[in-house]
Symmetry: C2
Subunit: 240 residues, 2 copies
């Protein structure tokens, strides 16, 4: 029976399962912590194969909507608080790589999201969050870093700011978009003519952003992050 789904006619049956779950989430019959019926039961109820149920469930796991309940079988799943950002990041990263979203468009969206999360971080960042930002910042001052290592700490700095925003959707979207730009930025770094110049610009811009966050100057921090993102974009011709 699972093999039914290999046939084109079965190509949509997993969507029945996704639709069934979605409908119940939207009308509140399934909430965080709810258990799905067993795989066999759900298959009977929806008139689809168990393979279709499994595929629908896996799809929703990949979206961070369901999580597997270990030991309870494949569909004894729990509705989750989940980690939507994992699925979001993966999805955006692939779509950016497929150039469904040109780098200029992504950068424009990145600017408004990082303006928001940086402003919010000025109000919400606690000592621990500020320590994480400063740690990434200080790591970037090491002249021995490869461009790849530098890029990793650069991402970490921006992600630490986003995580301090206190708005989970802003954080998740900011992180997903920053992560989706990691490889294009890395390739951009590799092709920059004057790497030392770019590196020192990025460092001083980061330090200025950090100072504004420490001073809780939300408007200034937002303007600095916007200028920083656009100037890095302009410095990397391959992104254009």
């Amino acid at each position: 029976m699972p093999e039914d789904d290999a046939r084109p006619s079965g190509a949509k049956t997993w969507e029945v399962v996704v639709g069934w779950v979605e409908e119940r989430i939207l009308d509140g019959r399934l909430v965080r912590g709810s258990m799905l019926p067993a795989e066999r039961e759900l298959a009977t109820q929806l008139g689809v194969s168990r393979a279709a149920v499994r595929e629908g469930v896996r799809t929703l796991q990949a979206s961070g909507v369901l999580c597997p309940n270990v030991g309870a079988g494949a569909t004894g799943g729990t509705m989750v608080a989940g980690e939507p950002h994992v699925a979001l990041t993966r999805m955006l990263r692939m779509h950016v790589a497929l150039a469904n979203f040109p780098a200029r468009d992504v950068t424009q969206v990145r600017v408004v999201l990082e303006r928001l999360s940086t402003s919010l971080a000025c109000a919400h960042a606690d000592d621990g969050a500020r320590a994480r930002m400063r740690e990434a910042l200080n790591a970037m001052d090491d002249d021995e870093l490869t461009r790849e290592e530098f890029n990793r700490f650069d991402t970490r700095f921006h992600v630490a700011i986003a995580r301090a925003a206190g708005n989970r959707l802003a954080t998740d979207l900011t992180v997903a978009i920053r992560e989706s730009m990691r490889q294009p930025i890395m390739r951009g770094f590799d092709e920059v003519a004057d790497w030392h110049l770019l590196r020192s610009q990025l460092r001083s811009q980061h330090h200025a952003i950090m100072s504004a966050i420490d001073a809780r100057s939300a408007a200034e921090a937002a303007d600095l992050v916007e200028h920083h993102i656009w100037s890095a974009y302009e410095a990397m011709p391959r992104l254009h």
Copy 2:
């Protein structure tokens, strides 16, 4: 063999498939229009069951990354331009419903995205786009509409603006977030004490936004849309 995946030990094998595709998209070996290897071949190559391959592929279809190539079997898939917003919308809608993202957080993000897409629409909206906005706007002036119908045209007005932005990522995110708020806003409408007052406020705010777009006054349109979104939010206590 497909049944292997029902066992907890097999719970991660579909992720191998997703990871394999993702890696090749990120390094450029798979581009838009590329075909995946046949299901059987991919299963052998990755050392997983055909069911795992199928589940991985379905997951990527649900993310809008792959699309089925009808007639070529379950995994004879094509890499796509895709419709990332369909997957994004569905995902965000469920996470908003699960309250993984509180309405206040969503509204805050919605404001910065709609500011951006409205500003861009001032520059990029052509006659057709403006006609679609005006059509939704005029429909909302009908006093006979139910609250649900009013909400539908309200969504359509905001979506028409977002689609005119000329930045696909901004459009997709704005539409996904606006759509994810459709049901909460609908429930909010149902509980508003003075519906006629709210309706007339929303109408006049929409008309003002339309005028600013017609005048290509980007800064004014962005401010108007921000004020509009927050005032609607404040008027619906159940969102708070």
